[in-house]
Amino acid sequence: MLHHQRNFPAYERMDIHPQAVILDGLILALVAKEPQYGYSLNQAIEEWVAINESSMYPTLRRLTKEGLLTTYDEPYEGRLRRYYNITELGEVRLAELRGAWQHYAHGIDRILGEG
């Protein structure tokens, strides 16, 4: 099948920083289900897959700057906890990433899978 050879939009190709793009998707997916704060996000992801801890903050910051996430603060035990919420733009990006991931995973399966 030659359908996966050319003209991929940037997110579908996922060839430059696959880890970074995947992290975007993980964060958006979790936050879409319910608002998360830094540590809860980390724990939710680490429950299933190990990630580079130190890239969490830069990614969250970038996603917020790009308008895919919004933040709000809530008091907790005498301090403020910053929660992250998904935006409409974020939902759109999430859908894109989901599609891109399916395509990517399918391609990997084809090669790694049995037979």
Binding site: Y37, G38, Y39, S40, N42, N52, E53, S54, S55, Y57, P58, L60, R61, R62, K65, R79, L80, R81, R82
Partner: protein
């Protein structure tokens, strides 16, 4: 824990106040929620100084990517190159602050210096050749004119060659300048690549440890 972050902050003065405050605030919250004690912090993230280097490297790497992505037209080429220069120093520092064996770190830095020098030599040689072409061409042209009276053929030959040399030299000049920027950008990308590897590896090693 508060002391750990306070000390880390003291090493991050080169980061803009707003960004630094946000960064530290995130980790303050994170460390609190995780319930890390001093020992765990040091085993996970290294000393405050090491941690600050990691944070600084990530900040510059991320900023660099963001800057390239969003403001390629707004930030002038010169300003981007200045940011890249800072990045080189930060990466070198991060390299030595990381758990990577010192001989390996030194080898990497020496390798980078060697590449930089090779590029420099190449450029000097290139420009020297161009200058030779232009000046030599002018000289040949003038010499040709001088001979013109005694021998038409010889004179025409030399003026022709002289003009050709000068023409080629002048024509190739902007090409050479373009090559300079391509090599410099390539070198910067190599440094950024190494920086990313060092920072990721530092994190992984400290997590395993």
């Amino acid at each position: 824990m508060a002391d750990y972050l306070k000390e880390t902050a003291s090493y991050l003065r080169s980061v803009p106040d707003e960004d630094r405050a946000e960064l530290l605030r995130y980790y303050e919250e994170y460390f609190s929620d995780a319930g890390f004690d001093q020992e765990t912090l040091v085993s996970k993230y290294g000393t405050p100084k090491q941690f600050s280097r990691t944070l600084l490297a990530e900040y510059l790497l991320d900023n660099d990517e963001a800057a390239e992505k969003m403001t390629e037209e707004k930030i002038g080429q010169a300003a981007q190159r200045r940011n890249s220069t800072r990045l080189v120093w930060i990466v070198v520092l991060a390299l030595f602050a990381s758990p990577i064996l010192l001989p390996v770190a030194i080898a990497i830095v020496i390798g980078l210096v060697a590449i930089a020098m090779a590029i420099l030599i190449l450029l000097v040689a290139g420009f020297a050749t161009l200058i030779f072409l232009v000046l030599g061409g002018l000289y040949t042209f003038v010499a040709g004119l001088a001979v013109l009276s005694s021998s038409l053929a010889t004179g025409l030959f030399f003026t022709g060659v002289g003009l050709a040399m000068t023409g080629i030299g002048v024509f190739l000049f902007p090409v050479a300048v373009r090559v300079v920027w391509v090599l410099v950008d390539g070198f910067m990308n190599l440094v950024k690549f190494i920086g990313r590897k060092v920072v990721r590896r530092t994190k992984r090693q400290q997590e395993v440890a």
